[in-house]
């Protein structure tokens, strides 16, 4: 399997705090890979490093073998890595459809002057992108909310709207930061079905998740972080049995939960 994304001893230090310490692993094309670990383990920091929000202290991140080091977030997105945020970061006072259309911003061709003069080119493109955005909203079950402000949507729908916005950027790799947080069991099932479907359409999905049912249910591989270090990596079954994960890190109570999941 060719590696799509490679983390090569990625290290991120905030002053005296080593948030991510020499973490290395790789993600293959069309894989679903989860990252788990207790709060403060450095999972979201790792995401922020991949998407260019945090510059790396040491190490390198490669997409298709090309280093992403030093690239600004929008350039990394344009290379095909889209993400959602743990604490939902939608454009609160834009409508749902506009939120998704922002995702199409980078590949739209209309220049500022096209927009100012509403040239046929701009009008055609706006129309096409709006249709595409509505399709994406429909895919995520948000069709009835297209005209609502993102802020007005219920929590679960805001999570989905973030995914729709990420998908509008035409990603190859989708980074989901706790997509199941705050969802009810029914919504979690829908989320798992959606992730499986996205993979079916050729997308690679990399997610941070606490919900073991979701993680164990859809992941091909799981990476476990603790105190910024990678302590385990492997298939769900391997990770579930890994003594280091179970005893030293998840605790005995959690191992019970994992078995029952």
């Amino acid at each position: 399997m060719t590696a799509l994304l490679e983390l090569d001893s990625v290290t991120k230090q905030f002053g005296g705090l080593l948030a991510v310490s020499s973490v290395s692993f790789s993600i293959g094309e069309r894989e679903i890979i989860s990252m788990i670990g207790p709060n403060g383990a450095g999972k979201t920091t790792a995401f922020n490093c991949v998407t260019g929000l945090f510059p790396l202290t040491r190490g390198d991140i490669r997409l298709d073998g090309h280093s992403l080091g030093g690239l600004p977030p929008h350039r990394i997105l344009r290379l095909g890595i889209a993400r959602t945020f743990q604490n939902i970061r939608l454009f609160s006072y834009m409508t749902a459809v506009d939120n998704v259309m922002v995702g199409a911003h980078w590949w739209m061709k209309a220049r500022v002057w096209d927009g100012a003069l509403t040239t046929p080119r701009s009008r055609r493109e706006e129309h096409a992108v709006e249709q595409r955005a509505l399709e994406l909203l429909d895919l995520l079950g948000l069709a009835n909310y297209a005209g609502n402000y993102a802020r007005e949507l219920p929590y679960g729908l805001q999570r989905r709207l973030e995914i729709a916005r990420a998908l509008a950027t035409r990603p190859r790799l989708l980074l989901l930061d706790e997509p199941a947080a705050g969802l009810n069991p029914q919504e979690k099932n829908e989320l798992m079905a959606l992730i499986a479907r996205l993979r079916g359409e050729g997308l690679t999905v990399f997610l941070i998740e606490h919900d073991m049912r979701v993680v164990m249910g859809i992941s091909d591989r799981i990476v476990v972080l603790d105190h910024g270090e990678k302590i385990a990596e492997g298939s769900p079954a391997e990770v579930r049995e890994n003594p280091r994960v179970v005893e030293a890190y998840l605790g005995s109570g959690a191992s019970q939960e994992m078995r029952s999941a």
């Binding site: 590949w107 209309a110 493109e125 950027t169």
Partner: protein, 518 residues
């Protein structure tokens, strides 16, 4: 009778009135009232008044004149009272029956027609020409214009109420644009007023529109906007005056001025890219102070020092020299304002407009969604500044002299007040803000003295005529702003987003702060 009343005042009807409707209704009533009272306001001191209801009684054949006047009076009362009735009812969660709209629209149309009829009758009886050319100090027909406009606005608002509620922005333009176009005609016998309108209203409106791109759309608080106005003004002044011996036509200069201001917008914007909120405001404040100071110090011998650049060319089109016909300045400014408004409205709805709003809402998410925050911010600065460059070119041509004093901090604050007052981020709001601020603050407040004196003389109350309003101008200005912020913090015509946003009060952090660069 009771049943009839109940039929008209239906208690459970859904309340759908919007800000634009409210404003048009109040504006119509205000115009009608102002037209009625204008004779008294300007009476003893300025040029006298020709048309007034009193005149109609004294000059027209008593029979016809009186009857027409009574009918007009009833129409006027309906237009004047209906906002009060409607808003009182709305406060009690009731609404007027739709049938009233027809009654009010009909009354407005009748009022409009009768005003025109009476006006023509008076003119015909006095054997005066219809437009202008009246001897100074005898008549002005400002009152008629105001009256006609008020009735016309009322007719549109009530007659097309559904359209006003459904397409508020379009109807706002339909309502306001004729007023803008007719302004010099309405006051064609008060050249000082026309000049005031030329200088303040249109210039400030353009400045407000430009600043709105930076502050309203992209959410970058700019307290030094006058700097770009200065750059545009000075650039065009030095290219159309004896100071360097260069004389370029104004119609070329507006583009040159806009381009130069846009360039400086991007240059001055660059150092502020990592800043947001208070910090950005302070840096831009600094720029706003530096630019006039550079001009005062005659930097590179370009700016003429504290005296500025004088003798700026007046544009000439065919046989019209704008220097002698200042209303043409106003009309050309109005034309360019309309062009700018259309282009900004288009941009707001297009790709770049979405990027600006995304940047305003959440810079980190915008960057993570593929928006180049650097170029998007610089574009906001450049486009915002280019509009002020256009305004600066006109400003120099209108007043013939630009000096550092014209671009002080107070100008930045006045422009900011316009967009805050009107409604940040909403183009209709900015236009309204420019109207309100220039009319109320720059015209009504300075004239309060004269008006109160007139009122005191008319009703023989020396206490009223004795108040020295010139001392209280800034107190009144400040009080008006405070009252605004307390009762309509999102502005007179808030953008939908801004309205909700102010109620929640959430600040977003900058990308640079998240990345640890600022």
């Amino acid at each position: 009778m009771n049943r009839l009343l109940r039929a008209f005042f239906r208690p459970t009807q859904k309340i759908t009135a919007t800000g634009v409707y409210t404003i048009l209704v109040i504006a119509a009533a205000a115009m009608v009232l102002l037209g009625w009272f204008l004779p008294w306001f300007v009476g003893p001191f300025s040029e006298g008044v020709g048309f007034s209801p009193q005149d109609a009684i004294s000059t027209a054949p008593t029979g016809i004149g009186t009857i027409l006047l009574y009918v007009t009076g009833v129409c006027m009362l309906i237009v004047l009272l209906s906002p009060f009735v409607e808003f009182t009812l709305r406060a009690r969660h009731r609404a007027l029956d739709v049938r009233w709209d027809m009654v009010r629209a009909a009354a407005s149309v009748v009022g409009l027609v009768l005003t025109v009829v009476v006006w023509i009758l008076v003119r015909w009886i006095n054997e005066e020409p219809l437009f202008g050319a009246l001897p100074n100090g005898i008549t002005t027909d400002s009152a008629v214009w105001l009256e006609m406009y008020g009735f016309g606005l009322a007719a549109i608002t009530y007659g097309l109420k559904r359209l006003v509620l459904e397409r508020p922005n379009v109807m706002f333009v339909v309502g306001v644009l004729p007023f803008g176009v007719l302004l010099p005609l309405m006051f064609h016998q008060a050249p000082a007023f026309v000049l005031w309108a030329t200088q303040s209203l249109a210039i400030y409106m353009l400045l407000g529109l430009g600043l709105n791109v930076v502050v309203g759309f992209a959410g970058l608080l700019d307290l030094g906007y006058a700097a770009f106005f200065a750059i545009g003004g000075y650039a065009c002044a030095s290219l159309a005056s004896p100071i360097h011996g260069v004389h370029i036509s104004l119609w070329m200069l507006i583009f040159i001025g806009a381009a130069i201001a846009a360039t400086f917008g991007a240059i001055l914007g660059a150092p502020t890219l990592r800043l947001r909120g208070d910090y950005l405001a302070i840096v831009t404040l600094g720029f706003g102070e530096i630019i006039p100071d550079l001009a005062t110090n005659n930097v590179f011998g370009l700016t003429g020092g504290p005296n500025g650049i004088s003798g700026i060319d007046k544009p000439v089109v065919g046989s019209v020299n704008f220097g002698f016909n200042p209303q043409w300045f106003y009309w050309s400014l109005l034309f360019f304002s309309v062009v700018v408004v259309i282009m900004l409205l288009n941009m707001q709805r297009a790709r770049i407009g979405r990027a600006w709003v995304a940047l305003r809402e959440d810079e980190v998410a915008a960057a993570a969604t593929g928006i180049n925050t650097t170029t998007t911010k610089l574009l906001a600065f450049a486009i915002g500044a280019s509009v002020s460059g256009l305004a600066g070119a006109f400003y120099g041509a209108i007043v013939s002299i630009v000096s550092p004093d014209d671009f002080q901090f107070a100008v930045s604050i006045a422009v900011l007040s316009i967009i805050v007052l009107g409604g940040i981020g909403n183009i209709s709001g900015v236009i309204l803000g420019a109207f309100v601020l220039t009319f109320v603050i720059f015209w009504a407040l300075p004239n309060l003295q004269e008006w109160s004196a007139t009122l005191g003389h008319t009703f023989n109350v020396p206490a009223i005529s004795g108040i020295d309003f010139t001392r209280y101008t800034f107190i009144l200005y400040g009080a008006a702003l405070i009252i605004m912020m307390l009762f309509r913090p999102a502005g007179l015509l808030p953008s939908r987003a801004r309205k909700v946003e102010l109620e929640s009060g959430i600040e977003s952090e900058s990308l640079a702060a998240v990345q640890g660069r600022a």
